[in-house]
Subunit: 106 residues, 2 copies
């Protein structure tokens, strides 16, 4: 079976590899983000001094840090949504009460 049609080449930190199961445009976006991280870290003199192995692990940590920040934002947004839901519930209740008072059926 030839899977070559599904393979997408990606270049990260100057090294290329082929992956299956990814949309090429999405993969490019993710690779661009990682390459920007590499460039950003490489601007630090202390980062350049450590071994490539440790640099790579540090980058994993750096990306995971962004992921956890996004997760924290998700939690905050969910809390905000819950507040809005409660506000909507209260407003609907208040509206029904008001409509009953004004003689209209809710």
């Amino acid at each position: 079976m030839d899977n070559s049609d599904n393979k997408v080449e990606v270049t990260i930190a100057g090294r290329s590899f082929k992956l299956t199961g990814y949309d090429p445009e999405y993969l490019k976006k993710v690779a661009d983000y990682i390459n920007a991280k590499h460039e950003d870290c490489n601007s630090s003199e202390s980062f350049k001094k450590i071994s490539w192995d440790l640099q790579s692990l540090f980058l994993q940590l750096n990306i995971a840090d962004d992921y956890f920040a996004a997760q924290a934002e998700i939690e905050e947004l969910k809390k905000e949504l819950e507040k809005k839901d409660n506000e909507i519930y209260d407003l609907k209740h208040e509206l029904v009460t008001s409509q009953m008072k004004s003689g209209r059926k809710p």
Copy 2:
């Protein structure tokens, strides 16, 4: 100046390094997440066959993939919040109209 008090040791993929500026508990959580990724990938025979360099870059991609999924969830939640805000605006407007009809000041 002795910065040793601020340094936190973290172990990722069996390699330890020291970082400053992180809360130890948070750093442990992030390291646990990355180590789970390493274990997960290492359960794949094809992953084991590639060089450590490529394994490490693949893990960066894998973590960034989680980050982009979280970003997509943030976008969805923001859209949902906007819808709720519009619903709240409409309900408040309807409530004021109803209260005016029933003779109450809004």
